[in-house]
Symmetry: D2
Subunit: 364 residues, 4 copies
Amino acid sequence: MHFASDNTSPVPPQVLEALIEANHGYAMPYGNDVATSEVRDAVRAAFEAPEAEVYLVATGTAANALALACLCPPWATVYCHRTAHVEEDECGAPEFYTGGAKLTLLGGEHAKIDPGELERAIGFTARAGVHNVQRGAVSITNATEAGAVYTPEEVAAISRIARDAGLPVHMDGARFANAVVSAGCKPAEMTWKAGVDVLSLGGTKNGLMGVEAVILFDPSRAWEFELRRKRGGHLFSKHRYLSAQMAAYLRDDLWLKMASRANAAAARLSAGLAALPGATLLFPTEANAVFAAWPREGHRRAQKEGAQYYLWPMDQGLEGPGDVPLSARLVCSWCTMDEEVDAFLALIDGGTESVPTQVPPPNS
Amino acid sequence: MHFASDNTSPVPPQVLEALIEANHGYAMPYGNDVATSEVRDAVRAAFEAPEAEVYLVATGTAANALALACLCPPWATVYCHRTAHVEEDECGAPEFYTGGAKLTLLGGEHAKIDPGELERAIGFTARAGVHNVQRGAVSITNATEAGAVYTPEEVAAISRIARDAGLPVHMDGARFANAVVSAGCKPAEMTWKAGVDVLSLGGTKNGLMGVEAVILFDPSRAWEFELRRKRGGHLFSKHRYLSAQMAAYLRDDLWLKMASRANAAAARLSAGLAALPGATLLFPTEANAVFAAWPREGHRRAQKEGAQYYLWPMDQGLEGPGDVPLSARLVCSWCTMDEEVDAFLALIDGGTESVPTQVPPPNS
Amino acid sequence: MHFASDNTSPVPPQVLEALIEANHGYAMPYGNDVATSEVRDAVRAAFEAPEAEVYLVATGTAANALALACLCPPWATVYCHRTAHVEEDECGAPEFYTGGAKLTLLGGEHAKIDPGELERAIGFTARAGVHNVQRGAVSITNATEAGAVYTPEEVAAISRIARDAGLPVHMDGARFANAVVSAGCKPAEMTWKAGVDVLSLGGTKNGLMGVEAVILFDPSRAWEFELRRKRGGHLFSKHRYLSAQMAAYLRDDLWLKMASRANAAAARLSAGLAALPGATLLFPTEANAVFAAWPREGHRRAQKEGAQYYLWPMDQGLEGPGDVPLSARLVCSWCTMDEEVDAFLALIDGGTESVPTQVPPPNS
Amino acid sequence: MHFASDNTSPVPPQVLEALIEANHGYAMPYGNDVATSEVRDAVRAAFEAPEAEVYLVATGTAANALALACLCPPWATVYCHRTAHVEEDECGAPEFYTGGAKLTLLGGEHAKIDPGELERAIGFTARAGVHNVQRGAVSITNATEAGAVYTPEEVAAISRIARDAGLPVHMDGARFANAVVSAGCKPAEMTWKAGVDVLSLGGTKNGLMGVEAVILFDPSRAWEFELRRKRGGHLFSKHRYLSAQMAAYLRDDLWLKMASRANAAAARLSAGLAALPGATLLFPTEANAVFAAWPREGHRRAQKEGAQYYLWPMDQGLEGPGDVPLSARLVCSWCTMDEEVDAFLALIDGGTESVPTQVPPPNS
């Protein structure tokens, strides 16, 4: 019963096999290997973007911060949601990589930027001319930090506002596959066709060891990106081991299949929770994360049995009357089993079922 | 016949097996897993340094730049050799991570800092008080970029000068195992016992996919290091995959055994080259890299057969009289076979032997 | 009728005379002159702080940004009011000088930080450990950007919260003299006795050409400050011309006398506005700035006669029904005359009095 | 007998008078005043550059660092002389403002960059592609730090090399007036006509309190410069006091007249020193600084009488045999009198003449 985060999961057998295969003989370093070419081609095909440039890094924070540094000068601001990963979970990496840009924090339901609020904030910025920071870029996360999904139309609405102000759009796609699968659209429709300039395409949370792709749909800043990546210490010499994973991930739609499984598990969990007495959902469950509240006694039972998840916000305590609800975040991954979900639901509902622990092979 | 760099080699089976084993079930992220504890313990044991703090990153540039950022404030300078990796091969990563510190470039044979020159340079710095940059840190590379090795006594001589000026010492140990094996000393003797404060302990060039350890012998700046690592995008969520590799690397002295094999291959290559008519060594071969010059016709034969290595400096050409020597860098790795070396030597000497291509298992 | 800002005023004759006197003969550069010593002594005496270190720079932005850079590391955040000068009017200078720290924006009446909100924000920061930015420093502005004044007790309340979290306190005192005079307290009571660690003591808005003092009540970071100042290009070679102005400013309480005059003018203006039909004050007038709203027709009359001031916020327009109120900011300075105030009040009230334009000598 | 530096001199009466005149009434801040327009027009006329953009700052370090930040990205290098002010005397300000660019240090006689060495260094940079820093900009100082002057042809030779590599050229003109007067050319011939893109035009060393102009002959980066200036804390609110000084400086060729006087004094001093027994010139005296060596006993006599100058390098001592020469730097300014020079020469030659101390009015 592990719902702490999708970054606690193992990788699927396809990824291990790809690493084993990539390990034969010598390979030229720094991305001059065949697997890297394969990745580039696969991304261009998957996104219907033959001109796009594609770069791999090992963490989502690196992907986001490097992307934003190419889009936003030091004296400008990045418009993002108040709870965006770039604001809350990267220890100031965007500020570091941009050379001291600001983040302008916006509201909006389910961690989606409210378009009206974005428009007003852009209008407000730089009214004092040289005295305050300038308009830099817009960054949205899809799927969002609250487990919701922007539709392509919603992305396009944000992009239009950005475009009207001459601003580029970055998408933090740490859970991009979950979003695309949820929206039932094509990758291109969710990105460049909806006005996104740069995508951080997550691999890690959805089944790789630590590989993210940065996709520059407009390749004009590609060389700058390469220099910033190297300078940030994010250019791998034995690059084939990143590329091999990403190639396996994209092959035969593995990335989409894994995201589907994670989303399905979350949907099952969400439906189960919603049906429990005293439980409520905090946000709609549109991807692989469930935010819900249920009575304290259910939490106590779950934690006693070793269920792993975070109370949300984290600084709450379990003490207090058993029937008062407490909120929590539960994240499913490609390897979350239905039995695990059902056992967890039974547990917080008062059940005593035993819980399976084996991780199944994916796609079997 | 692949001598381009040690970063073109595959990883040994032990490392693949460690990854496969690490892939079972869920693991807490960001270094809160058992493999990371094992690495910490193993490093402390190998270096006889029970207080040391140990952090993993994926590239040598990240290791060096993060280490220097903790040692040198923005308004100071890092003393290093003119040909140091931190100066020549990191696209300014130390300047980026320190917030704009300088590098003061020093001479010295075989890419080892000349102690007298270091002493004079330190004496010169900050003579103008607030008007110029201040003394920051000393950084040495061992084994050096020229394939030489500082002995523990030579390291201590550098450290004494640094210590007298109140400066910390960083060692870029991208090829640290090769240096230790070459010097026949213990890791502790080459580092903290000789006055080194922070070591970038290389794993990648010596057989991992992309793992380096930063060892802070003085743990007082550990928390700052952790924040800088996260902010630089170098904290891995699925940290177990870094730790598992490093743990395998340190287990049963695998790292030292692999470095021994690489050094032995280089020694064989170096001896063979020295014996060729018209060939000369540029530097003593003390680790796993050979710098030598031999007649152009030998280069032509080698390159025609697909031998991989870099002319050194890189911007020379093969055209010209066949008997004029050209210099080159040849790097051996844990998987360089004697047969490969011999075939290469025969080739540039005019032979026509066929060359084996299979990579052998290590330690067999 | 010039109420645009206190930075549009001339300097008083004492300052010009001090410059003329300072211009005799040679003087050692970079603060090694007698005037600089006099300033140091005068500040220490005025603030009853014999250990304080005192440095001069030419702009308030430099003073604030350098001060914050000494108090807040790159991976931390500065807590300040949502409308603080460091957030709204410095084009990201704090982010630049700190190396990419954040500013956490807080609410509170009259541009004073709400203590409860500060406490909650500090409590919230760094809950995710290494994943988000850390607690850095607290910065308050006194007098505030809304023309209000923190009492020493209110400053102490903020400082206590900061101190409990181990955070230093910076005060942006661009209008510090106006605040001290308004509160009727001693400079020491408003600063270090109330827990302030570093004060940016404004001279420019209150009558100098461009001189601000940074006062480090705790001198332990003095050398770092000097290096950051030099590196920022803010160390003057002909330093005597800064020092002579600041010395004249502090001599015979000139700074306090000038602030008193500005405050008195603002009080007269505020009282007059409050008495006008259809006019309201937006904030209490406690220093030298008045924020008020009055009918559009009054604005039209004023602007037609060339009265200088900013609508607040700036992006409003004069078009529309004449009886609808519009808000504005009116700033008085040491040389605002009662006649000017009265003429302005008469004008917006429908009068047609002619307006004097000559600037009177101060303290006469 | 004050030869320590030209930054120890007072300002001429014209500058004081300009300040007094500028002090009448209110003036719009931040450069929106009439004096700033006058300066812009005067610079454009003096440099025959009607499109140039002109910005004022208060220190040479700010002028240089801001200019270089607009010309050189963080991942590139500035080619400059080993003894350039930007390298030796700015505490890393260029590194700070560029966001961590490098400085590549070159040799050349009299602190002038050797063109061949520049060409080789540019050729060498970026040979390793993404792995090392890229080519950024070229910066030369005129007059140089050794008191020599580049002719327009020499500037053009440097610029041609830069242009061929696509690099912009910056000129540190802290003593630009001295250089122009010495070369007997027009300002345009020494700058944009010789390929200079940005000039830091010094005012401070040549008679202002602290004013430098940055002239962008190509105005395309003007807005970026304005933002960087503000963000660096170098935009003055009471800007008229900078502008008034610079306007007076440029009016009626005052700047050139003052530089002529300083150069003439240095020439007199240089000729006198060259004629002394045991004395030698270290560099040709082409501007207002004299570098010479003479016997220790002469130094002792001079220093006993309170003569002010720096031994060069600074860390030499006076102890030792009296007839052994010691080298020194002697800088003349607009107010150095012939009597002062003669008295100094007599003193080190063994004389005992009394020395005048009064500063004469300029241009009388």
